[in-house]
């Protein structure tokens, strides 16, 4: 495991470096600059120039880039340009909300995706099969921004059982926190759950066609047990890879869902940052997302290895 980490570390760092460069570049390529958006709607050019100088935006680009990397290496994130506050605090605050949302969604992805996949692979006919198919298709066909609005309309406005949006830390008030978390997490989880279910269904179908399932059947083991105890463990490793990919999507793709549910997470912060050209916030945030993603990939590979004994021994 240690060697595994060592082997992955250099390429991971390279990814981060490449990402940092791309992020920096993309941000500067976007027209509009932080000083003008900071200056407000009726500012004069002199105000803008003064702000540019104060933010150091008049320095050469390479200097700005290296300066950023240097600050990062020193653990200094500095103040935000436009949103207000320290970047570290901003990211720290929204990171908590995003982690909550992502973990909540991940849990739902598993809770929904698993049965969808298993039922999809084992029930071929009848109302259950139709229901599974209908659910999967709808979820895949209806974009999350529609799902979100519909969920709010149904559960918050019409039924009034769940809040329409906002965030309550689950750590402070678990019961209330869960109520706030449920809809956005569901909205975020649905497409991923459908995708996971799909891959799982595929994997299960393939596993169920394997010879060892024939062996188990010949031994008189019941169908249900074969699916659960024999086929599923074989279908899980590839599903875990898919899940790992989805975590990246959940982390980064939450912009819309966070906007709909007024969830103060990284997605919102990133959108705010881009909309105000708050370079420090966006740069650090995107880099963090890439780093988290790289880490998630690493964890995925470790879990994969743990689930599949064949790899462990090679």
């Amino acid at each position: 495991m240690r060697t595994f980490l060592f082997r992955r570390l250099p390429s991971g760092l390279l990814v981060l470096l490449a990402a940092s460069f791309l992020i920096f570049l993309i941000l500067r390529l976007i027209p509009g600059d932080p000083a003008t958006s900071l200056a407000g709607p009726d500012a004069g050019p002199e105000a803008v120039a003064a702000i540019r100088a104060r933010l150091g935006l008049d320095r050469p680009l390479l200097g700005q880039y290296l300066g950023w990397l240097g600050d990062l290496a020193a653990g200094q994130l500095g103040p935000s340009y436009a949103i207000g506050g320290e970047v570290a605090e901003l990211i720290g605050d929204s990171l908590g909300a995003t982690v909550e949302l992502t973990l909540g969604a991940l849990l739902l992805v598993i809770l929904l995706g698993l049965p969808l996949g298993v039922l999809g692979a084992t029930v071929r006919r009848g109302p259950v099969a139709v229901a599974v198919r209908a659910l999967t298709t709808t979820v895949l066909a209806v974009p999350p921004f529609v799902t979100g609005v519909v969920l709010v309309l149904v559960f918050a406005v019409t039924l009034g059982v769940l809040p329409a949006g906002g965030h309550q830390s689950i750590l402070d008030q678990p019961d209330l926190g869960v109520q706030y978390l449920l809809l956005p997490a569901l909205c975020l989880a649905l497409p991923s759950a459908a995708i996971l279910g799909r891959y799982l269904k595929d994997g299960l179908e393939r596993a169920l066609a394997e010879d060892y399932v024939r062996t188990a059947t010949a031994l008189g083991i019941s169908r249900g047990r074969i699916v659960r105890r024999h086929a599923l463990p074989n279908a899980l490793p590839p599903a875990v890879t898919v899940l790992g990919l989805q975590v990246g999507q959940l982390l980064g793709g939450a912009v819309l869902v966070e906007a709909i549910f007024a969830w103060p997470g990284l997605g919102q912060l990133a959108e705010q940052g881009v909309l105000r050209r708050d370079y420090p916030v966006v740069q650090d945030l995107l880099l963090l997302l890439v780093a988290v993603y790289v880490a998630v990939q690493l964890v995925t590979d470790l879990v994969y290895t743990w689930l599949d004994p064949r790899i462990r021994w090679e």
């Binding site: 976007i30 895949l140 529609v146 980064g252 997605g267 959108e271 997302l289 790289v294």
Partner: protein
């Protein structure tokens, strides 16, 4: 007597599996949507851009799907929206697929290249898509191209990873070794022998890719960086309709119906092909 063992698959004119009920239904659904898009000018003579004071009207003889918030005929907009989305998908998905496959082939050349390509996929997957969408549109200006680029970029890792996995498996097959022993160069083994056997999963991936494309187009419209208004697009109509979901749910229904039919059709085709391949 020697029996012919049943081969892993049968080749027919149409890909295997599309002859099943599931496959046929899928082809019909997708065909209907595509045809509706292609024949849009014949199916309706309403101008999708013409506005009137009659906003948010319900379905009527003149407006089968009603009108939108600016008094435009929704039926015509949806049909023309299909065209837009088809055009976008038909450019973006193949570009993403080709780039992804090229990277996967590059990965097959050496260990170093493999690690590098894998990290490129990581990078593409890690970069938040919507931020990328905002950035690309801001740089290029609004329109169809940024949407195409964002979708293509999003499709690269999907295709690339699938193909890479396929190549890794196929490369270890004996026929690849046999080709090598027969004197074929590495490149020839990869391109002529391994690649044709590794592309099967991409058919399914391709089908899924089209629904992803419609998704991304919609999300970009939602963020105001989609196709240039007033050009209609399915995602665009859908995102505009959200503001009226509680007061005029019919507005959202038409584009949703089309997207659902398209996705259901593609899913069915993908599944049918999948089964055909596995058989």
């Amino acid at each position: 007597m020697t029996t012919l063992a049943v081969g892993p698959r049968r080749r027919r004119l149409l890909p295997a599996g599309l002859h099943t009920l599931r496959g046929t239904t899928g082809v019909l659904l997708v065909g209907a949507v595509v045809l509706a898009g292609l024949l849009a000018p014949l199916l309706t003579d309403a101008d999708p851009l013409a506005q009137s004071g009659l906003a948010l009207a319900g379905p009527s003889g003149a407006h089968p799907f009603g009108t939108d918030d600016l008094g435009r005929d929704l039926f015509s907009r949806v049909l023309h929206g299909i065209r837009t989305d088809l055009l976008i998908s038909i450019t973006a998905v193949p570009v993403g697929a080709v780039l992804g496959c090229a990277l996967a082939l590059l990965a097959a050349t050496s260990r170093g290249a493999d690690v590098a390509v894998q990290r490129v996929f990581d990078l593409l997957l890690a970069f938040p898509g919507l931020i990328l969408a905002l950035a690309v549109t801001a740089v290029l200006g609004p329109g169809r191209w940024p949407v195409v680029i964002v979708i293509a970029l999003a499709e690269i890792p999907g295709f690339g990873r699938q193909l890479r996995a396929g190549i890794l498996v196929q490369r270890e097959r004996e026929y690849a070794l046999a080709a090598r022993v027969g004197g074929a160069s590495r490149a020839r083994v990869l391109l002529r022998h391994v690649l044709p056997n590794a592309v099967d999963p991409l058919i399914v991936q391709g089908a899924i890719a089209f629904s992803l494309a419609v998704f991304i187009e919609g999300a970009m419209s939602f963020l105001g960086v989609g196709v240039r208004p007033p050009e209609p697009s399915l995602g665009g109509i859908l995102s505009q309709s959200m503001a009226y979901l509680s007061t005029h749910p019919g507005y959202a229904a038409a584009p949703l119906l089309v997207v659902t039919a398209l996705v259901l059709g593609l899913t069915l085709i993908a599944e049918a092909l999948n089964e055909g391949i596995r058989r």
